[in-house]
Amino acid sequence: MSEDWMLWGLFILLGLVTTLPRASFIVLGERAALPETLHRALRYAPAAALAAIVAPDIFVSGGELTVFSPRLAAAVAAVLAALLSRNPWLPFIAGMGVLWGIGQLIPT
């Protein structure tokens, strides 16, 4: 993605796949309705997609499955912070703190 024009093209495509779902029923109004089964299935899309993006970032490094890594420790710290506190900054402070802390202890 080094080419600048490709990046701008990508932004426009991403803008389209964001605005079209958002505007869909607001623009269509009373003329359309979502089938009940589809409505229920769609609720699981964000959780499935977020996990599918996050999990390889945490458990895979260099194409290999790594069960223990600084990234996993940082992710665990972020999950605990998100579960135990309502402070919106804490998961970032905890996660990045653990990642940097381990980086200092074990120079790579």
Binding site: L10, L14, A33, L34
Partner: protein
């Protein structure tokens, strides 16, 4: 601008103002992450204005950094945005009597926060001018906060050393979004299946494993809902 539009806008803005503070860390993190994957300030703010969606931006940045094919990045963003179809359908009745141009603007500005804050009044207030004002007040305010604080994040990133793996902030941000969802059993099943499949299928060509994992996760969540019927989100 009719007086009832202005009244609605004021009331919407006042009720949303305290909630809107929660947007600030997200905008900062998104700005930091966009700079972290190597965007110039112009590219970062271009993405921020054109896409205007924290989850879709943070979710696609790791894929962009990894050199994933464009069509796969676009499909992933679309899946992350599928929840907006549900929001759009739920709030649509609040826009009856509103002109088409204002509906497109309102659609573009639909965010999780504006939806949650405005839904009830949008469905109950009788005056369309008041309703549009009540919706646009918080939505335009969110847009402004999002742009200003993302810009602060982009600018702050240049004073942070390169070796600090700022791009991992995107992963943390996605975890923070995932944690409250996973409190509901079928949603947790969807996340575990999606995450597990994505790791297991990482060898698939063109990173197709991500898409298969998402579809598998949705199916697993839906199946889990059928099995343990009472525990519905």
């Amino acid at each position: 601008m009719s007086p009832s539009f202005r009244d609605g806008m004021q009331e919407g803005f006042h009720s949303f103002l305290p909630l809107s503070v929660g947007l600030i860390p997200w905008a900062l993190v998104t700005g930091l992450t966009m700079a972290g994957v190597g965007f110039t300030p112009l590219q970062a703010m271009g993405m921020n204005v054109i896409v205007f969606a924290g989850t879709a931006q943070l979710g696609t940045l790791p894929l962009i950094a990894a050199g994933t094919p464009v069509w796969l990045i676009v499909i992933t963003a679309f899946v992350l945005n599928l929840r907006f179809i549900i929001f759009s359908a739920a709030i649509a009745r609040g826009f009856r009597g509103v002109p088409l141009g204002a509906r497109w603007l309102s659609g573009h500005l639909l965010t999780d926060g504006a939806f949650a804050a405005c839904l009830e009044k949008m469905l109950s207030h009788p005056d369309p001018h008041w309703r549009l004002g009540y919706y646009l007040g918080p939505s335009l305010w969110s847009w402004l906060l999002w742009q200003v604080f993302a810009f602060c994040g982009v600018m702050a990133a240049s004073s942070i050393p390169r070796g600090w793996s700022l791009e991992f902030m995107a992963t943390i941000a996605l975890i923070v979004l995932l944690v409250p969802m996973a409190r509901v059993r079928p949603m947790l099943v969807a996340a575990l299946a999606g995450g597990g499949l994505a790791v297991a299928l990482r060898g698939m060509p063109l990173r197709l494993g991500v898409i298969v994992a998402i579809v598998g996760g949705i199916a697993a969540g839906f199946a889990a809902e059928r099995w343990c019927g009472r525990d519905r989100p």
